[in-house]
Symmetry: C2
Subunit: 201 residues, 2 copies
DNA sequence: CTTTTGACCATTATTTAAAAATAGTCAAAC
DNA sequence: GTTTGACTATTTTTAAATAATGGTCAAAAG
């Protein structure tokens, strides 16, 4: 079955990408891993980007499921965001090199920018949902959900990038992950407090 | 006078650094600009770093004066922070290349890291003062000023780095400066609201 | 004693050309 | 519908040669 082969390829690529990164993984290597010729791989995926894109979407879908579950289980807005940060951490650890690479790719090529924007958009949509629920639950004040969730996501990403006070250097240091998450949680708490309906201090 | 020559050198270096950047400016060029031999320049500054450091401190001091003035004129915390962002924007525009370069320098060398940390520290100290005043004025709740101002500065810097939703790429795009400041102001508003004493929504 | 300089060196950047690797194609076979 | 070996065009790596730059120093000038 066509789909099965595609998934096999995706799995092999995912393994290499998340370990060695996108650039350091060649299409031949991926093909060899599952005993295919490179030409055959290109029968299933138009080009390298298409393969990467498929993987990116798969990861996004996968983590969306986990987050949707959290949304059902946790009513409180802040707790949900905190949970979300933990989930994101899991994924970052699991697919480290891949995710890092995805973020700092040939950002002068249309398709890469489009993918990057899509990923940001998906994250924004999730946050929007959480915010909207918070408003409905009368936990948060009314505000422009779109621009605020955009700000929130940018904030969290920026915080990740600017881990210690020295180098920004796009790639998140693996060892500093815990520290980053901690800061993000602290920021989330203040942020939510800043858009919460006041109930006395 | 020794100090006069030093200032002359600093002025010349500042001109070149803020225009062409640190790396693309050679010590010979700076010397030539003010009709000195390179060897003579080294009589006044131990090495290139010492010169850069002197400039960095000068800029920090200069902007500190402007900010201190804002602190005297504006009582409200958020307004003060907004003013601060405007001041920072001015400086960033004025010394663009220099400041950008300063942030992404050989960050594996001790002295650079130290300078970078110092700059962060200075920014943190200013924010701390603003926060402390806000607490004293009974405008803000009581909180750990140190860790919170650290978070605030990191937040703002990260936001600057993560301008549009695509490339993080350490250097702030000059054209996007207005957009960035806008976002920073929005973030500052929510942040302050998040640590403000509630007065009813 | 302070300031200035030309000549000098070591190390780092830049350039260039050749070699190797890689993305992607295609006609033909299975 | 799948699979492949053989092929190209384009990037990446590599390595060597060259140029530029940071930094030193002994000696001269003021």
């Amino acid at each position: 079955m066509l789909d099965d082969k595609r998934n096999q390829i995706i799995a092999a690529a995912l393994r290499r990408f998340s370990h060695f990164g996108i650039v350091k993984t060649s299409m031949s290597e991926i093909a060899e891993d599952i005993k295919l010729s490179k030409a055959n791989l290109y029968y299933y995926f138009q080009d390298k980007f298409a393969l990467i894109e498929a993987i990116a979407y798969q990861i996004m879908d996968e983590s969306d499921v986990a987050i949707k579950q959290a949304l059902d289980e946790i009513p409180n807005t802040l707790d949900t965001l905190v949970r979300m940060l933990d989930i994101k951490k899991e994924y970052l650890e699991k697919y480290y090199m891949l995710i890092i690479n995805l973020q700092e790719m040939n950002m002068n090529e249309e398709r890469w920018i489009a993918l990057s924007k899509k990923m940001f958009q998906r994250e924004m949509d999730t946050i929007s949902k959480i915010f909207e629920r918070g408003i409905k639950r009368n936990e948060l004040v009314t505000f422009d959900v779109s621009s605020t969730s955009e700000l929130y996501v940018a904030l969290m990403r920026g915080l990740a990038m600017f881990c210690d006070h020295t180098i920004p250097h796009a790639l998140v240091d693996r060892d500093e992950l815990d520290k980053i998450i901690e800061k993000q949680k602290q920021a989330a708490a203040i942020f939510i407090n800043g858009i919460k309906k006041s109930t006395n201090s």
